[in-house]
Amino acid sequence: SQTIHQWPATLVQPVGSPLSLECTVEGTSNPNLYWYRQAAGRGLQLLFYSVGIGQISSEVPQNLSASRPQDRQFILSSKKLLLSDSGFYLCAWSSVQANSPQHFGDGTRLSIL
């Protein structure tokens, strides 16, 4: 069966520090991969999605970036974190079939001090 792993679960970082959140999927090949952010009391905001290695689409311009160095690995990064980057980050995957449901990781709670 397919599983998705996301880490770390919680992270506290100072303003201006770098960020790297990692997400890996097991049990499937060539998944579509997604990064979402959920601000406190708000819905999910799609940040990035990827349909293949090295193929990244950005939905919202900001100081975050994403990379997909391997088929089942998706990384969310920042060179310099802002206070506004605080939130709950979720990675998700779906199969390449159109309109297949997304399956989410456990999320990372990021607090910027």
């Binding site: 708000r42 819905g43 309109n99 449901p101 399956h103 999320g107």
Partner: protein, 111 residues
């Protein structure tokens, strides 16, 4: 652009009772999918139920069912025999080539 609206930020229901969560959406597409996701306090998002727009029959999954009204662009979730474990944020989502989430409804279960 497609939008998803959940007009109820919070709802409460007595344990064992039935509750309906509302969701409306806007699209000019005719072929799409609709989902309800559940996010319990543990924060993990879980797929609850899925509806294909071309199917007239409402989807059901055990105690969860939907009332899909395509013409009205409405997709409500009914939870029967509510249980304490149903307490969570519930997100409605629309998907054609991208997925769009509503802002969520927080459901409280009263013992």
């Amino acid at each position: 652009a497609q939008t998803v609206t959940q007009s109820q930020p919070e709802m409460s229901v007595q344990e064992a009772e039935t509750v309906t969560l509302s969701c409306t959406y806007d699209t000019s597409e005719s072929d799409y999918y609709l989902f309800w996701y559940k996010q319990p306090p543990s924060r993990q998002m879980i797929l609850v139920i899925r509806q294909e727009a071309y199917k007239q029959q409402n989807a059901t999954e055990n105690r969860f069912s939907v009332n899909f009204q395509k013409a009205a662009k409405s997709f409500s979730l009914k939870i029967s025999d509510s249980q304490l474990g149903d307490a969570a944020m519930y997100f409605c989502a629309y998907q054609d080539d991208k997925i769009i989430f509503g802002k969520g409804t927080r459901l409280h279960i009263l013992p």
